[in-house]
Amino acid sequence: MSGREVRLERLVGRRVRDAGGRSIGRIEELICGIELHEHGRDYVVREFRVGTFGRLDALSGSKLVRELLKTLGRVSGYRERRVGWQLMDLGDPVHPRLRGD
């Protein structure tokens, strides 16, 4: 286990790009669960939630605006995608990418 440590706020709000370099949205949430092992338990991130507002995406820089648009839900064209941890390449945490094809 290498000891790279990153603060959550470095990841949040980052654009995630797929293998083709296209943005699929911004990291909005990290869902974690418990992993048991012989010397105790750890909380590990299982899934990333990546949200996009489609054409309104450029507006969503501020947290307040983002939350407002989400409250409006479908009206704002909000879509959320769940990405399992295996698929998220955090080699460069500031530029997260989708792994694989």
Binding site: K63, L64, K70
Partner: protein, 405 residues
């Protein structure tokens, strides 16, 4: 039985808490210069406050967490700094105005200049906060604040033409001094819908241990309390319209406002006015000082409660101690209390989007409020209030320049 006592207390609190330096001053100015014509603005302000208080109270009762707590957690610390800093500055100015209101009342009662009263007033307030509990602050000021009912008596004794009063509930454009009219409209809204009111209210709901069972108490307190409280502010406008407007007097100083009740109630009227000004402003002094301490403590996660001994929440106690003393300084060096009041009301109005707009998100969060999220009516009202707050944000400062003189 306990429910009824709580209900009664809640209503009394809002009546006693509604009138304070800002609403007395702005209502008196509005009545003197435009008769009943600005009454509709007061009604809009009162209704807005009632909705906002109901919502922040509901949020606190259901989640057992204060509005500030949610504001920080939902929107993150980066956004949170904006309402934090703006509300701190604005509330501090309003607080200084309240200290000014008490000091002016004491000056007129004793003949000793208001500058000399600022520091003693602040120390007396501090002592109450230091020794008193939340109940003492909330209920004590509320019950004493009922002296403000004297405005209702004054208004009735002047026999206003009630038809005209009712007609003024509908908006109308001014025939003269348009900039001044809209400037006063902004000040009235700033005086009615102060952010400290709902910060204090939601913190109070947590201090008093509200749960879902208190939702009725919450609705009645926010609704009826503000109807009565707003009614008193309307009475101030009516009295000012009949006493000042008919004689062409424009209110530039608190000394003039003190004559409001002299005409319906004679010499006793002056004394009662001074008592009302003194008590209601003192009550607001305590509430705003606590609100500032609540804002910082809840925003940064410090221990806080007006019911704890100061040693147990040292940072919270330190904040209210420093704030109340600091707020006395502008008045102690002789800043004009009425000018300061007017400026703080405009700035309050301009600051509203930062505290109102986030409610659109919070009050629709099912994870927090479950089945108690906003319905179509409360959401509709909230959207209108949020739009109004954006208009105020844009218009307040230009109007201060055009019509503030």
């Amino acid at each position: 039985m306990k429910k009824w006592a709580e209900l009664a207390l809640g209503i009394v609190t809002s009546i006693g808490g509604f009138l304070e330096v800002g609403s007395i001053a702005t209502s008196a100015q509005a009545g003197a210069e435009f008769g009943y014509q600005l009454l509709w603005v007061l009604i809009v302000g009162t209704l807005s406050l009632a909705f906002l208080m109901e919502m922040t109270g509901r949020l606190a009762a259901v989640s057992r967490r204060t509005y500030v707590d949610h504001l920080r957690q939902c929107f993150g610390v980066r956004f949170f700094m904006a309402p934090l800093i703006v509300v701190l500055i604005v509330s501090f100015l309003v607080l200084a105005s309240e200290v000014g209101g008490v000091s002016i009342a004491l000056q007129m009662a004793t003949g000793i200049g208001f500058q000399w009263w600022a520091v003693p007033v602040a120390l007396a307030g501090w002592l109450l906060l230091w020794r008193g509990t939340f109940g003492v602050v909330e209920q004590g000021t509320a019950i004493l604040g009922l002296v403000a009912l004297v405005f209702a008596v004054g208004a009735v004794k002047l026999h206003p033409h009630w038809g005209e009063v009712v007609r003024a509930a509908l908006p109308s454009a001014p025939a003269h001094d348009r900039a001044r009219y809209w400037y006063l409209a902004v000040s009235i809204l700033g005086a009615s819908v102060s952010p400290y009111l709902f910060l204090f209210y939601s913190a109070g709901a947590v201090e008093d241990g509200w749960t879902e069972e208190h939702l009725l108490v919450n609705r009645v307190t926010a609704g009826l309390g503000n109807v009565f409280g707003g009614g008193l502010a309307i009475a101030v406008v009516v009295v000012a319209a009949l006493v000042f407007s008919t004689r062409g007097i424009r209110v530039d100083r608190y000394e003039q406002i003190s004559l409001l009740l002299a005409s319906p109630l004679g010499r006793a009227g002056v004394a009662l006015f001074l008592a009302t000004l003194c008590i209601t402003c003192f009550g607001s002094t305590l509430e705003i000082t606590l609100s500032i301490a609540y804002l910082l403590a809840q925003g940064f996660g410090w221990e806080w409660s007006e019911n704890l001994k100061p040693a147990k929440d040292a940072r919270f106690a330190m904040v209210y101690t420093v704030v109340i003393v600091a707020a006395a300084l502008p008045i102690a060096i002789g800043v004009d209390p009425l000018a300061l009041t007017n400026l703080s009301m405009t700035l309050t109005a301009a600051s509203l989007p930062l505290t109102v707009v986030p409610l659109l998100v919070l009050m629709n969060d099912r994870e927090v409020l479950m089945k108690h999220v906003n319905g179509w009516m409360t959401n509709g009202a909230l959207v209108l209030i949020a739009l109004l707050s954006l208009v105020l944000f844009v218009a307040a400062l230009p109007l201060q320049k055009l019509g503030g003189g």
